[in-house]
């Protein structure tokens, strides 16, 4: 006679130390196996797209900072590049280089946050502090450059707002070998750790077909072997001048995503090196009218943010504020794979899989 069992409905979040923000997932578990998982989002919905219809383009840029607040520079970029494309503005070279440098630094900072918090979720406390310490250096660089530590409001349509102060480029240059050293230390500490490997190898596996169908981008897609990166496939800014690789793995599990992101940091350092070498002089802002009125039309611009493909669909009717501004947020789309891969998984792996997806709730909810 079988024992009568019942399914337990467990609510993870919205207040939970490991859901990376206000995110709730309702899981039905039978013992420790998840039978069904339903994410519930919208706790951080602030109506950015609706607000944007009343603001002019420069005023929307601070709102973009707050979408994916861990990686604000790429958000800035996607909006200004959409407007620039519509208005056919040519951005001065120095501005483009500054943009690339800050975007790559931002990518490293964002991956460090991800790494630290992911390991904290898994249970190791120390890498969190090491990662944040290194991120402090990057944040200090940003602070010097544009006065803010997290939400920068740095880029403008046509260029960037602040020029690199004296010595700033040298500091970026010095940061590169320092970070390479630190990555070696982190590798020693974590990548070979048996417990860590046992926790994340083979967990949360999916294949390339599912990934593409679900619209995954970023490391979530590259871990299955699909070599897609907006910087290479549809190059924007001055990325076509740099040499860098797109790391991919084929296993499709959490460990693959982990390795892909670590490798991405290394590639970002490579880009930074080249950018700092080639850094030109010149103006940092194109000559533009004070009130920006893009011509009527629509445009979809995309950017490779640390989380995936960030897109901005802009419909303009010729006014100084957009008619419709829609952000294609990578975390929002990436989160859709969660219900699929959680079914049949043990609940102990819930947090591990969620962490490897690398979501930021500001972006999920917009």
């Amino acid at each position: 006679m079988a024992i009568r069992t019942e399914e337990l409905l467990l609510n993870v979040g919205p207040q939970h130390p490991s859901t990376h923000g206000v995110f709730r997932i309702v899981v039905k578990i039978d013992g420790e196996i998840i039978k069904e998982a339903t994410p519930v989002i919208g706790y951080l919905h602030r109506g950015t797209e609706k607000l944007a219809e009343d603001l002019n383009y420069t005023q929307i840029i601070p709102y973009t900072d707050r979408l994916d607040y861990v990686s604000a520079m790429t958000n800035n970029y996607v909006l200004v590049s959409a407007v620039e494309r519509l208005m056919q503005i040519e951005v001065p070279e120095r501005a483009e280089f500054l943009r690339v440098i800050v975007m790559e630094l931002q990518r490293i900072a964002s991956h460090l946050v991800w790494w630290g918090t992911y390991l904290l979720d898994i249970g190791a406390m120390s890498p969190f502090l090491f990662a944040f310490r290194d991120r402090e250096i990057i944040i200090d660089l940003f602070n010097e450059l544009c006065g803010a530590r997290l939400t920068y409001f740095y880029m403008r349509v046509g260029g960037v707002k602040w020029d690199a102060p004296d010595g700033w480029i040298e500091k970026v240059r010095d940061f590169i070998p320092y970070m390479r050293e630190r990555l070696k230390v982190y590798d020693d500490l974590v990548s070979g750790n048996e417990i860590f490997l046992a926790r994340i190898k083979g967990i949360g596996r999916y294949d390339a077909q599912t990934a593409i169908d679900c619209g995954l981008t970023g490391a979530n897609l590259r871990c299955t072997g699909v070599k897609r990166d907006v910087r290479k496939d549809h190059p924007y800014s001055v990325y076509d001048r740099f040499e860098f690789d797109i790391p991919t793995r084929t296993e499709g599990d959490c460990y693959a995503r982990y390795l892909v992101r670590i490798e991405e940091i290394k590639q970002s350092l490579r880009i930074l090196e080249q950018a700092v070498e080639m850094f030109p002089e010149g103006p940092i802002m194109a000559k533009l009218p004070r009130v920006l009125r893009p011509p009527e039309g629509e445009v979809y611009s995309r950017v490779e943010s640390p989380r995936g493909e960030l897109g901005c669909y802009l419909v303009s009717k010729g006014k100084d504020s957009p008619y419709r501004l829609k952000f294609r947020r990578p975390s929002f789309v990436n989160l859709q794979i969660l219900p699929k891969i959680l079914v049949g998984e043990s609940i102990t792996n819930l947090i591990t899989i969620l962490g490897a997806t690398d979501i930021v709730l500001g972006e999920v909810d917009a």
Binding site: L8, L10, H16, P17, S18, E32, L119, L120, D121, I122, G123, A124, M125, S126, F128, L129, F130, R133, L189, N193, I195, F196, A198, R199, S346, T348, N349, L350, I351
Partner: protein, 339 residues
Amino acid sequence: MGDLLVQPLTWGSFLTFTVMAVLFLLLILGMVTYGIYFERKILGWMQLRPGPNRTGKLGLLQTVADVLKLLIKEDTIPSKADRPLFKIAPAISFVPSFVVLATIPYTDKLYFANLDIGVLYYVALSALSTIGIVLGGWASNNKYALLGGMRSAAQLISYAVPLVISAVGVVLISGTMNMIGIVERQEGWFWNWNFLPQILGFGVFVIAAIAELNRSPFDLPEAESELVAGYHVEYSGFRFAFYMLAEYVYMIAMSALITVLFLGGWHAPAPFLDFIPGIIWFILKFCFMFFFIIWLRGTMPRIRIDQLMSLGWRVLLPLSLANIFITAIVVEIIKAING
């Protein structure tokens, strides 16, 4: 102290016992306070940060402040919780950890009980604290707490087995379960200490001990980031302080036990260092074990529950059994050789 124990009980000796027990209790509380302080400091240094350094000089009064805070907090009990069980659970968890301290000999003169079955008694008592954890998880009327309590029960029971079995190896080569006897057999140079002859047993014992203590990397029952603190999630204030106290006292007890069983108790590493009192050696070795446990916490990620269970049953248990067999065989061979 020893002689007092074997004499008939008089009011005078009873008073002496009570006073010594109370003093010891206070001493242990002091050690817990500074144990917590050192844990935070050491973890901080490992993580490139200073640790507490504001309250009192060098942050020395940090734990005092924390304990005071816990004591003056509101005593909240969830409305649907099982009140009697909720209140008793921390106490059940805490009492055994204190009681076992009585069985450990600190020097050849300083001990509270001279039990001939010391090791067995210790292990039996420490298993009692499992009940406190399970009760805490159940009585909280909270799914997370329940999950944490169940996991913890599974973990503690599974690791109690390799713990005991690896200690049996020590008993075999010492020929007695009496802790004083075990230490006496380890005198001489440091290679006489049991950790070398019983290297396998030592490894298994340390791992099982850390699992018994619910410490990282085995702290899934209180996984802060996954189950939001597991079985003690609904506890706050003084009751929570009890659980924490139980954990730290138990840590002290375990470190002391390892010192006695495997690291030679109060003996110096070399005979010529005998002039340094035994208690100092005991304290040094004990501090080293305590530090080792903290060190592991700062370095390792957490093991998942199913991996933890398979580690306990499929790795540690066979190893400890193998240890017994090898030890038994070697002991017999040596006995045969020595005639």
